[in-house]
Every structure is written in structure tokens, then in C-alpha cells.
Symmetry: C2
Subunit: 515 residues, 2 copies
């Protein structure tokens, strides 16, 4: 190309350094960077930004890619750029600071997503580039959804799951501990009320194992372990706090998102949740990337299997176990999967505070504590004690029971809560309503998914006290008019939603068979 033209095009660029004044709109978008510009703004016109375009904003130091909305009212004046909280914090600007706006470079990594859609396998570098862009906020919701969907429609091969796991670890923080072993447990989910983690952590730590537990919030369920634990103590621990708690007590139960372990996963989970989609490959990478990033060396996986659990058949369980084992081996992680009964909820409560009550009852050794929660916790803790070398194979469960029964686990749990910022009592619902059996008989089935939906309609997990309190279990006899379960809520509106759904789903929730 001829030199005069080049210099002219440079002159064009430098003659027009378009900047706008930043304005904080106080807009919560759950992490999505959104920018608002007046349609008649000189930059919209000179740059040819159309509505819903992706624009790159920069203040010289930081940059962010945002979705642009055009404003035609006086909400935003020409020369201003309104920012959502996510965009505001990513730029780290103050009111009125000059922000430049330009067309973002085409996302090279989206060509990898398209390759995946068309059936090609993704390698380390492809997944690394996709996840780097995801973590940097360069993917729009449309692009994130396409990636998530592609990984379900074209299931990830074993090598791809390993590569995805590695990429998820690479784009986040990584913990290291001056001790060994570092034990961990994880439940693949799908079973309401299966809140064994706080009990297992307390037993393991009381027995001298190191267990820096990070848990997630609910993805599609009415409560994640972090949601439940938050009703008992702060879980939003930064790295320094988490380290101090673990050094002091040998264990913690923190929210994983707060320490930026596998932050790409958190973004993907938001989209999976909106789609109600949870693919095997992303599940394995999600679980193991967090364990690896947390510095774990020995991990027990609780995998409940049942017709209405997340894993529905023993074939699915075998496939998932194989993938978990294979990827774990690639990272030198010792892993044991325990397949458990997933046919009905565990404990009595479904929802953060209601589940916390069950946990407390087991830890305190109350007579009324739910047997099933206690038994599952001891079984899993037993495997963990064996895997962590605290006892011989076959003796773990007995040792776990001793530690729970003599009060050491409860004492340890209270110390962990105090170290995390102070133990507190779980909140109690302000409004509740029982759902009665229309006729007498024996409960022959409970639908986990429908129960979970009722708990979510009642407000869980955002409303901590909301959820479902079960009065029945499979095999129990019920009289007509006797309460099957009680719906707890924090608002009348949410209680009404949950009741309406329960009415329409009637005995599908609990199937009663005449005797």
C-alpha cells in the first residue's frame, strides 16, 4: 500500500479521540457490563455504534466490553456514557472521568466455539482462549449461551474435559497449603436437603485433617451448601481470612466465588442456570477445577442416584464416575466416588435455613435429628477419614460416629463458625402453610424435582428462610388431612406462587397409594 494513504488514515484516527464522561447509573445486572449512550451522541454517530452493539470502553488503564443501549430521552445526555455496576467496577472510574469507546476486535475465540458447534474437538489452547475471554467479560450473554449449549449438544470428550478443567484453573486464583493431605468432598447435587458438608467438615477437622472447603451457591437447586452455611456464619471470606481460619481450625466452609477459584465457572453457571442445563463435561470440569484450584489432594464425591435426582440411572453414574476418575488422575488427584441413594430428599428441610436446622440437630446429637442425614454424613466422612489416612479401610465410619457422638464435631463446628466471623441462628420464615394429604395411604414416591421447584417458588435460595419442610418419607403411612409438608416463605406473594404450583401438582409431589 502507498505511504500517503497510511499516514492519512492514522491522522484520521488521532484527530478524533472520542471520549465520553462516565456516569454511574447504579444498575445491578448480575455481572453483565451494559453501557448507555444517547443516540445523537457524537461517538455513536462517528463510530457507527448501533443499538445492542458490543462496544469496548477504556479509561486508559482498564477496559471492558459492554452491550450498548441507545437512549433517545434525556436519561443520558450526548457526551455521557451511563454504566452498569459491572462496567463501572471493571473500569474503576469516578463520576465524570473520560472514557473512550471503540469497536471491540472480533473475538477470535468465538471461531473456536463455532468449530465446536460444527463438531470439532477443542484443545487446551482453544479452551484457554475461550475462558480467558469469558473471565475478562468479553462474551455477551448470546455468546456465553452458545458455548454452554455447544458443550451439551456436542458432549465433551475426555481430553476436552481435562483441557476445560485445566483452562478453568488457569484463568483463576490457585491456593497452596503448607500441609498434606488436603481433603475435600463434593456432592454432584440434585438431592434436596442433602446437606452433609458442614457435618463432614466438622468431623474431618476434629480428627485432624485439613479441609479448606469451598462451596457453591445453588445452581438450579433451592439451596447450595454456601447458601445454607451462610445462615449459620459468614461464608463470603477473602483469601486471607480463609487461610487464617484453616490455619487456626484446620478447616473452613467458605463460598467459592468469593476467592475467585475458577471464576469462569461462576459465569458459565449463571447461563446454565438460565437454561436449566448441566452437561456432564462442564459438571466434571466445574467440580474438579474448584478442587484443584483449592489445592486439594484427596477428594470424596457423593453421587446420589435416583429417578428424580440429577444423576438418574446407574449407567449415568458409571459414566460420570469414569470421567471424574480419569480427569482426576490427569491432575494427580486421589478421588473416590460414593454412589448413594437419591430416591428421596435427605433430612426434613429444603431451603437454606431449613437445611441448616437439620445440620444443627445432627451436630448437636438431638434425638429428633434426621437419621438419614446423620447416616449419610457418617458414611461419607468415613470414606474421607480412610482416604486421608486417619484410619484403616473399613473403620472410617465407626471413627466418624465416635467423633460426632462425643461432641468433638459440634465443638469444632462452632469454632469454625466463630473463626469465620461469628456463629448465628438461621432465620425463621414469616409466613407458612401446610399441604395436606387428600386421602390416606402409604407414600410410595417423592418427586425431588417438583419439591425443589416448590421450594424455589417459595423464594429459596434468595429468601433464606423459605423452602419446604417435609413431614413424610417414602414408606410412611399418612391419613387423609394429615400434613405432607409445610411451605415456608418470607413474603405472601411467594407463598402464593408455591402453593399454586403445589395445588396443580398435587400428589405428583408425594405419591400416596391406598392400602
Amino acid at each position: 500500500m502507498n505511504p500517503p494513504k497510511q499516514s492519512r488514515s492514522r491522522a484520521l484516527r488521532s484527530a478524533d479521540p472520542p471520549t465520553l464522561k462516565a456516569r454511574r447509573l447504579g444498575l445491578e445486572t448480575r455481572g453483565e457490563a451494559v453501557a448507555f449512550m444517547h443516540r445523537d451522541c457524537h461517538i455513536c454517530r462517528s463510530e457507527g455504534f448501533s443499538a445492542h452493539a458490543r462496544v469496548r470502553l477504556s479509561n486508559g488503564r482498564n477496559s471492558v466490553i459492554a452491550t450498548l443501549f441507545h437512549v433517545t430521552s434525556d436519561l443520558i445526555r450526548p457526551g455521557e456514557v451511563g454504566l452498569s455496576e459491572a462496567a463501572w467496577h471493571a473500569l474503576g472510574v469516578a463520576e465524570g472521568v473520560a472514557v473512550s469507546a471503540s469497536h471491540p476486535k472480533p473475538l477470535e475465540s468465538m471461531s473456536k466455539v463455532r468449530s465446536k458447534i460444527y463438531g470439532e474437538q477443542l484443545d487446551d489452547s482453544a479452551l484457554r482462549s475461550i475462558l480467558s475471554d469469558v473471565v475478562a467479560g468479553r462474551y455477551s450473554d448470546i455468546q456465553l449461551s452458545s458455548f454452554v449449549t455447544a458443550c451439551s449438544a456436542r458432549p465433551l470428550a475426555n481430553d476436552e474435559i481435562t483441557a476445560l478443567t485445566r483452562a478453568m484453573v488457569a484463568v483463576g486464583d490457585r491456593l497452596s497449603w503448607n500441609r498434606s493431605p488436603i481433603v475435600d468432598k463434593h456432592c454432584v447435587g440434585g438431592l434436596p436437603g442433602n446437606r452433609t458438608t458442614p457435618i463432614i467438615v466438622a468431623i474431618a477437622a476434629a480428627c485432624g485433617l485439613t479441609m479448606p472447603k469451598t462451596s457453591s451457591r445453588a445452581i438450579t437447586s433451592p439451596a447450595g451448601t454456601a447458601d445454607t452455611m451462610e445462615t449459620l456464619a459468614p461464608v463470603d471470606l477473602d483469601l486471607a481470612t480463609m487461610r487464617r481460619v484453616v490455619e487456626q481450625e484446620g478447616a473452613c466452609i467458605a463460598w467459592g466465588g468469593a476467592v475467585r477459584l475458577s471464576p469462569a465457572d461462576d459465569t458459565l453457571i449463571r447461563v446454565e442456570r438460565a437454561l436449566d442445563l448441566d452437561s456432564e463435561g462442564q459438571l466434571v470440569a466445574s467440580v474438579l477445577s474448584k478442587k484443584i484450584a483449592a489445592g486439594s489432594s484427596h477428594v470424596v464425591i457423593d453421587m446420589p442416584v435416583g429417578p428424580t435426582a440429577k444423576v438418574r440411572s446407574s449407567e449415568d453414574a458409571q459414566s460420570l464416575s469414569r470421567h471424574l476418575a480419569s480427569v482426576a488422575t490427569a491432575f494427580g488427584l486421589k478421588l473416590r466416588t460414593v454412589i448413594t441413594d437419591g430416591s428421596q430428599p435427605v433430612g426434613r428441610g429444603i431451603g437454606p435455613a431449613l437445611e441448616a436446622r437439620d445440620v444443627l440437630a445432627v451436630l448437636r446429637g438431638e434425638k429428633a435429628a434426621p437419621d438419614d442425614l446423620r447416616a449419610r454424613s457418617l458414611a461419607l466422612a468415613g470414606v474421607l477419614l480412610e482416604l486421608g489416612g486417619k484410619t484403616a479401610p473399613g473403620e472410617g465410619e465407626h471413627l466418624a460416629a465416635q467423633i460426632l457422638d462425643d461432641g468433638r464435631a459440634w465443638a469444632k463446628f462452632q469454632r469454625i463458625c466463630e473463626a469465620q466471623g461469628g456463629m448465628r441462628a438461621p432465620p425463621v420464615s414469616t409466613t407458612r402453610h401446610p399441604v395436606m394429604a387428600a386421602r390416606g395411604g402409604v407414600i410410595i414416591a417423592i418427586d425431588n424435582r417438583r419439591l425443589a421447584r416448590i421450594a424455589k417458588l417459595a423464594g429459596a435460595p434468595d429468601a433464606k428462610a423459605a423452602g419446604v419442610e417435609l413431614h413424610m418419607a417414602v414408606g410412611k403411612h399418612v391419613e387423609a388431612g394429615q400434613p405432607l409438608f409445610t411451605i415456608h416463605a418470607e413474603t405472601d406473594g411467594e407463598l402464593a406462587y408455591a402453593l399454586e404450583y403445589a395445588e396443580h401438582n398435587d400428589e405428583a409431589v408425594m405419591t400416596v397409594e391406598d392400602q
Copy 2:
């Protein structure tokens, strides 16, 4: 369930009819319904609406599902709901009108999208329910993207394409005409400057055929036929206007979106564009649903094939032709696919106004008119005249040339423009810059995709006068320093972007080989 509970839950619902005052924010979001509520608003609290939740808004008559953003500033006061233009128009409200907000029912059709992701085929009723929800605005961008991606990752089988086509027709308007045959032509795209439609319509109508042509705007290209035609006459015709024009002149060239033929397709196209994804099944359904909805009986498909065209190989062309033919047969549509040369752009202009200039030159029979555009138009018009029964097989092209050369086509075109609202001259760019050959030689290849990108960076199709004007074609000899093409723009900023890309892609755009 026992009666007392039911009545109580109804009482709860009616006791709390939550309404908010509508506020128009003047926010252009390209069709996405967005709602803004203050986080401390009584409804956000009582209903448990979280940020980025989907909410159902209603004013009693109309309803819309919107994405919710929480506001923590005084932008929106508690008790108000701010609405994007899409939400405002869907509700059809006035400032301050009471709008209720509730949780939308779970989208049943998303379970069909998940089935597709997991490999099941979609049937008529599944696709009908998905597209009904899409047209009603019930799908978020995340959900739309998942559906579009699933249809690419799990390519649609022939039955599914037929079902998708039927569903697309069903959810929109459908035209019927009191004449027969109704002819139509369509180009599957990917070839810059291939603007034969206005010429073919003029020839067909001048010959007495009925051709109510609806065209799309650009999807991923620098100009769609509707964009080009809009620089010559209004194309935003409502159904009544379109009917009047066709009754008067036998033909029209209107924007398809304005008459709501296959409106679901327009929504899906927005997402496909953002993903740069265009699957075979969706392409076939998109093309044929519009033809069927427009009441066409005889259709000619122009399918340019070339290494940088949309259809890249003759295998792809065969597969696409087969699917088109098979789905057309299912709807009783007579269809002929003409495979054409897609190795380089057609005509000289790329971009709405620049392409319109080429069209005018051919219609007016100007000496300088681009030969290739004339030849392609005549070949396709010939097939259409034969298919429409106006001449014997093998004689169509000759008849078409007569009608063009004796001025009948040009006269008809002017009358069509006048009937559509008045003919006008295409706009002329305000800023332009030539790109020179760095060395002499023969042009051996032209990259359609890179040229299209340059035209888009220059502002096409939104900036009507923007685009690329070619001075060279494959096989032509060029001297060093001679202009290869000229970039046209409406703003200096856009010209600079296009030039920067052209500089970095240099001779990749036009490959010069030394002689």
C-alpha cells in the same frame, strides 16, 4: 388437597395486586424487552425479583416478558417501572399507567430446546411451541442463542426443517393473491454486490408475471436487497400498501420484516448475526417460510458457489439444493435452484447505495453498466420466465434480454418505485479513500469475506452510502499505484476503521500475481 387451603392461597393472591407506574425510558435495545425497577421497590421485595430475572409485565390487556435490571440510584423511584422501547410498545401503555409485575410461568417450550440439545428430533408441535414463544418475546437472549446453537450443533433433519418452516409460517402473517402463478426469486447470499433482484422483478413484471417480492435486510453482509432498494424507494410497506402496489404494477420490492411474514425468523436472524452462525436447516426454513408466507407458487433460487461465498463447495450446494427441493415439495412449491459462480463480487459496488448505482446502470442500459450483473440477472430472469410459463424452456434468457434492452424493464421499475412511495436517488458518500496496488500484476483472486468486512467497517449497511467500490476484477492487469478499490464512508471514524483493516489485510483482499 383440602378446600380451606386453596381458598386461602387465592385470598393471598388477590390481596396483593402489585402495580407499578410505567415510565418510558426512550431506550433502544433492538427488540429486547428490558424493565428497570428500584431494588427497594415493594414489588421487587414482595415478589423476590432478583437482578437479571425475567419478569412478566401486564397492563391488563397486553403483557410482555422482560429482563429486569435493579436500580439502586434515583434513576428509577420505588413504585416505578422503567421500560425499554420494545417493552413500552409491546404493552402499549402511556406514561404513569399501572403495570403489574409477576413471575412468568416456566417456559415449557425450553424443555423442547433441551431435548434437541440432547439429540432428540423436534416435531411440528415442539417447533410450533418454541416459535410461538419466540414471537411473543418470551425467550431471553440466552434462550434464543441456545436454540439457534442447538440447531447448528445438532443439524436439523429433513422432517425437522419442514416442521420448522411450517412453524415459522404459522406464527406470522400469510398473504394470498387472487392470481396465479405468483413467482419469486431468492439468493442464498454470501456474494457481495449480487443485487439482481430489482432487475429480475422489473423484467418479470414487465412480462406480465406477478412478483410480490419481499426481501430481507443484511444478516452478516454489507447490504441486503431491502437495504439497497431502500436507497431508491421506500421498502417499509405495510400489507395494504404492498397489495395495492402489486395489484397496480404486478410486483413490488418490499422489506419482509415490515409485513410480519415469518417474524420469528427476524428474531433468530439477530442472534445468528451476533454468533456469525448460519445453519443449513435454519437457512432453508428462513428462505422457504418467507416464500410460503408471501403466497409464492414458483421460486428460483440463486446459489452462488465459491471458496469465499456462503456456499463454499459443490457438495454443500448439492446438500442445500436437496433440502430446499424436498421442503418445497412438502409445501407444493415449484422450485428451481440455479448454481452460479461465487468466486468474486458481482458488479462494482458493495454497500446499499453503491449497489443501487449498479442496478440503475443495468436497468438504464448504460454502456458502463457492469456486464456480470446484467448477465446474471438475465440468466435468472430467464429461468423465472420459463418456470412461470411465459416462454418455452431454453428461451427465457433471450426474452429477458429483449425486455431489458427495449426499456420495458426500466419503465416498469420506475413505476414500481413510484407506487411504493416515490423514486429517489441513492445517497453519495461524504468521505472516501482509494486503496492502491503495491505492485503490478494480474488479479488472480478476490476475497469476498474480507471485502465484505471492509464494507461493514466503513458503515454498511446502516450507513447507506458506505461500502466498497471495486475498480478491478479477477483476470485484470493492474499497475503498481493503480487503485484496486475505493472505500466510501459517511464518517471519518468509520473510514479509518475500514482503512486500518484493509492495510492489515493488504493483498489478501485482491491477490496480485506478478506477470
